[in-house]
Amino acid sequence: MSAPSGPKDRRVIPRWREAKTAVQTGEAALINLADPAEVDQQRSTASLLHLANEFQQQPDIGRAADLASVAQLFGRSELAEDAAEYLLMRPGQTTPAALTNARRILELDKLGRRPPVPNDESQTDVDVDVIHAEVRRLRAKLRHFGLNPLAHLDLARVYTALGQFNKAERHLRTALGLAPHHRLVIRTAMRFHLHLGDPQAALHLLYQHPQAATDPWLVAAEISTAMVADQAPKFVRRGRELLDTRTQPPLHLSELAASLGTLELYAGRARRARQLFQTSMVQPTENTVAQVRWAQPHMVSELIGERGADVPRNFEALAWQQYFNGHFLQSRASFMSWLRDEPFSSRPAHMAAFLTDLLDPEPQTAIRLTRLALGADPDDALLLNNLAFYLASAGELAEAGMNVQRALQQQPGKSTQVALLATQGLLAFRQGHSVRGEQLYLDSVALARKEKDRANELLAQLYLTRERYRLGQDSAGFEHLMAEVEALAEPGVLLAARKIQIETRPALLGATTTGEPL
């Protein structure tokens, strides 16, 4: 297992949530807002009043239902209360739909009812079975009505989470065919190509859009995607103009400002970046909050303040904040919520699994979460290593060994090599080859030391101590190791140390992991 760190690089890549959620968070909100002065409300009100007068003069079921339905449509229930009562008093002459409407108008269903308990999403499971169930639901929905582009986007999203990229692409193409110039569809398709590591395809798609240079959400996506592609963005000047003219509401400019801020930050212009991040936080999206939180260490002063906490679905920024503050239970819940939003994203799955392994007595949930992440990212060496680690901890040594081999085939980077050596050490110990296991752990420690990767060096030492303890060997020096861990103050390493301390020194502690700050 490897000690996690916050993201080294981060751009304002479009989110890919369920379409309904994207509407609620504002990402899919429409820009053309009504000026009340321009709207002919008189025409609507006049026709509603006409229906109300008709009902008053000659009440009957049809007029009552007509009035009740139109009043509900215009949000003017108060004009149809008599009509609603009339319907409810004659249930045999009307329909269930009209009766439901009447009850809503009179707010009868609210009487004597307890306020609904808020749905704690963090408790809902997310794993491969849940995703498969979602595939079945969406396929049935599309069988019934196949011309719904948002349902195609949602199905593509869950297929991506399962790693079925051809099917996902097919549904994205259908969505693009049904709504070729729609912002949410374009941004989603771009996100898909970015997930597959093909930013050029994402940009190609964007440049075909007629409003690519005028819609701030698309300009933001272009700048961030071009940065991923390591090429100069085309719409920087246009983006600055959009920010300067401020003809759009602040929410619609938030990600654009954050993208431009990130560009400035990478160019080394921290002062200009700071101004842009400040602009992005006037009415931020959660993606902006996460970006600004990521950029915070490079800034001179605090940018987020209280505002970040109010933003809906602010799971990513919150999860990291809780993690670095040592609030591990809350952090795991936030990573799980982020994973539910983006089940194809390996980062929240990786972190949720890491924390779950350290907080739960058994590694089964960590295994499920890592398998889910591997579905969308099957060649990720670090995920393969972590899965091997959890499997080995659960005693499933053969499968753990296969995952180690697969990870080694991916040409992993140095920090993953450190983790892989340690995992191979664990496997050797659990297979009864303690000498070889000891050596592999020591190799891992040496490589980490060479790479100045202090967190993984300590982590390898901690797990080596645990394996020695399991064999009944003396674990002297553990106190010294703990002191080094506390001096480093890296949250993941501290949590691992705490767990190993409980396993190897139960008499000293007598407590279970609480997830509270250490």
Partner: protein, 360 residues
């Protein structure tokens, strides 16, 4: 809240309000007030010496006199009246459109100006008055829909679009069935209608999404026909469920995406709204399907739902039945005339089977 609290009716002073007791040309006698007053008209029940009853619609100019630009308002009222008279003349032969019996003008004693009027066939009532007794009568509703569709098709064949199809304008005649009434907001293909300049002359609550999201229409005539299709689907929904299609649709739409004419926030941007409307449409169809299941024989639910799906499709380009080789939907109503007739016959036969006494 009482509607009077918002807008108290002002008693009319125009001569159109004083026709009671008068005898008109051809011997028609005004015997009572009939129906609610519209913005520019007053309704009366009239009787011919041969005993026939009819509905008289008298033009009330008082609202026009109160307009800032009275002359323009008067011209508008005159144009509307003349167009309606001409239209009713054209529609005289149409079996499913309420036709004019007579028209002319009458002078009230002491009044400086005469009152123009139209005498129309008199219905028993509009369809809403019959819903209490036919709430679960699929055969009656389907026959009613068949008649309405024939009426709208007859108008389309004469190159007119109704554009104000709503429950109040579906009139029921004893022994004759249903006819489409109130052509006051109809528009024609060549642009003689006083509403030619308006994108949509009808009420917003029955309007299709392209109207509510202010989508520019290149082909106005096609747009008019598609509005009629949407309103026909809306009537189908209302007659079966007693809730308007738009009520189902916008109830399923995220509130922040509602259009300004429905007290929402969004002004225009139809293409941006369309994917969300399609999602809401999908959900609305699910609700309508449940409601239909409660009042229709199982075998009829799917075809009726399909007709609503085609007629009320939020994207006007895909609205209507796919008929031609390219699969593009057409605005023709022929298919719906046949469909509703066939379904009405099936429902009638089913009803007859149920009413037949058992021989065992």
């Amino acid at each position: 809240m009482h509607p009077d609290d918002e807008q108290a009716p002002v008693p009319g002073t125009h001569p159109a309000h004083f026709l009671l007791g008068l005898t008109l040309e051809d011997g028609w006698q005004v015997i009572s007030r009939d129906g609610a007053e519209g913005g520019f008209s007053v309704g009366y029940l009239v009787q011919h010496p041969d005993g026939r009853l009819a509905f008289l619609k008298a033009v009330d100019l008082s609202s026009a006199f109160q307009e800032l630009n009275m002359m323009v308002a008067l011209q508008d009222v005159a144009e509307r009246h003349n167009f309606e008279v001409a239209l009713l003349e054209t529609c005289r032969h149409m079996s499913r459109v309420v036709s004019a019996v007579n028209h002319g003008q009458v002078r009230v004693q002491g009044a400086p100006v005469p009152v123009p009027y139209i005498i129309l066939e008199r219905a028993d009532a509009d369809v809403r008055a019959h819903l209490a007794s036919h709430a679960y009568d699929a055969a009656w509703i389907l026959r009613c829909l068949h008649h309405i569709t024939v009426g709208v098709r007859q108008l389309h064949s004469a190159r007119f679009a109704h554009n104000d199809l709503k429950p109040a304008n579906v009139l029921v005649f004893s022994g004759l069935g249903t006819k489409v009434g109130d052509l006051g907001k109809a528009v024609d293909e060549v642009g003689r209608s006083p509403f030619t300049e308006e994108n949509f002359p009808g009420d917003y609550q029955y309007a299709p999404p392209e109207v509510l999201y202010l989508e520019h229409q290149n082909d106005l005539w096609l747009h008019r026909l598609r509005c009629d299709l949407f309103q026909l689907g809306g009537l189908t929904t209302f007659l079966f469920t007693q809730r308007h299609f738009n009520d189902f649709l916008y109830d399923a739409l995220e509130p922040s995406l509602r259009p300004a004419p429905l007290n929402g926030l969004v002004m225009g941007n139809f293409s941006g709204s369309l994917p969300y409307l399609l999602e809401a449409f999908d959900e609305a169809l699910g609700q309508i399907s449940s409601s239909l299941s409660a009042c229709l024989p199982t075998a009829l639910v799917a075809p009726v739902l399909r007709s609503i799906q085609e007629l009320c499709f939020p994207d006007p380009v895909r609205r209507g039945q796919a008929r031609n080789a390219s699969g593009r939907p057409m605005v023709s109503l022929e298919g719906y005339v046949s469909l509703y007739n066939r379904l009405a016959v099936e429902a009638e036969l089913e009803l007859k089977r149920q009413q037949r006494p058992s021989h065992r």
